[in-house]
Amino acid sequence: MEEKEIIPVPDEQQEYVINMGPQHPSTHGVLRLLVSLKGEMVKNIQPHVGYIHSGIEKMCESMTYTQIIHLTDRMDYISAHINNEAVCLNVEKALEVDIPDRVKVIRTIMSELTRLQSHQLWWACFGMDLGGLTCFFYGLRDREKILDIFEETCGGRMIVSYNCPGGLMYDIHPNFQKRVKDFIKYFRKILPEYDQLLTGNVIFHERTKGIGKLTKEDAISFGVTGPTGRASGFSCDIRKHEPYSAYDRVQFKEILFTEGDTFHRYVARIEEMWESMNIIEQLIDNIPEGQFAVKMKPVIKLPEGEYYQRVETARGELGVFVISDGNKNPFRVKFRSPNFSNLSVLNHIAKGFKIADLVAIGGSLDLIIPDIDR
């Protein structure tokens, strides 16, 4: 047997490669990051996706347009309602159906409630990732109140399936308005507590300020959207630029920062919670009377063609692209999911930071793994 000569690698070229995930508490799902380390410094990150691939896009091809709705719930399960809305808006746009004002307003309120509960859960988990376990309990405590509102009106807590092409599954519950108003009143008192607990905390500042800087140019070239992109100064709020549902009749401001570090991604989401509450308050008293759904045909067939609709989920821009060949099933469905693009930027911004910063940066991107793999 021929003996091979072992050439020693020089010290400065040596890398220590570890797996972060697929089972890791800070990846919030089955995301596997192949992290190359030099000591404690991150040199390279290679995300491996596909552990929870469920073939949703392919499954959509064998389902009718009403059945697709329940699948989109399971993509980004924290902002399920907004995903449903995206598909419904696309189908309605293709069929040129006029949606009653009541539906539009209720959808907007529900979307904003979804955004609120999503940011609450993110706040809870982000605090926990950085070592503040109390945040987790407080965040989930307040989220529970929104989930109760969902449960009363939609019948589900996270997986709501409340939209259907042409409107809503059922009308709102008689208690809905009162409950939402109570919640807003309660949460306006609670949100400053979040600030006292975490935003002002000196340890939190040290761990997030200046960490994982993302410039505006990079945000645009990587396609980073949502609060992550807006923290870098990339004005990408679909609600503002291409208003859908009832967003054209409410006043709200787009949260923009220029710093683009982890701390400002955090502040952007906290500010968005305030804005969401403003939007809900403007609409909750003026829900117009009318039908909660338009009568649609039992089997919906889209005319031949290609349709695209984008909405702003809690994490960024969700695009739904449908090719129809005139049958009851779509020929092809493609989801442009915000998390996939947001994940792609991770290597770029976490390079050169410590491995503990990687947890903070990954947390601030707010990744939902089934939406990446879908």
């Binding site: 059945q67 449960e151 009106t153 997986i159 399936s161 975490l198 905390n201 000196v202 340890i203």
Partner: protein
């Protein structure tokens, strides 16, 4: 000198920010009324779910053991993942005509995604959601349920 002052200032402000956070957590310590933890298994008796809560699909029967299901199969068609299967039979009505009726309405709870399409699209409102949420069983076969009760019949007046 200035750097020392800044250093001390940072320490004091840092400790102050920690104290501010601890004030929030400490205040909850003295307000036990704000605790929302439910003692779940022991409060089972007075735990009421919301009316619309999607627990599992059931077929309501009246006191005469009659249901509203005509066996049309629309729920089976609309179900996205084959949860529902309808086995129909032909019966002969009182006036001697042949008619389709359900033999078994099979519902596989383990496959159900609670999208509510079956309940919503049922033309005769035969299906409903129950508020039961404790579905765990030891045997997978128990998750396959027959919704119509044995010996049940179609309610009069439902076509």
């Amino acid at each position: 000198m200035r750097s020392i002052i800044n250093y001390l200032k940072e320490i004091i402000l840092g400790v102050w920010s920690l104290l501010k956070g601890m004030k929030v957590t400490g205040s909850y310590f003295f307000r036990p009324g704000t605790i929302i933890t439910q003692k779940y298994p022991s409060n089972r008796k007075d735990l009421v779910m919301f009316d619309r809560f999607k627990g599992e699909v059931v077929m309501p029967h009246n006191e005469k053991n009659e249901h509203k299901c005509t066996g049309c199969g629309i729920c089976e068609l609309n179900c996205p993942n084959g949860t529902i299967e309808i086995i129909s039979k032909t019966i002969i009505t009182e006036d001697g005509k042949k008619k389709r009726a359900i033999d078994k309405h099979i519902y596989r709870l383990g496959m159900c995604t609670f999208c509510a399409l079956c309940v919503k699209t049922c033309p005769s409102n035969a299906l409903a959601f129950s508020q039961k949420f404790e579905h765990a069983v030891f045997n997978r076969a128990l998750l396959i349920k027959t919704l119509n009760k044995p010996g049940s019949q179609l309610m009069k007046g439902v076509e």
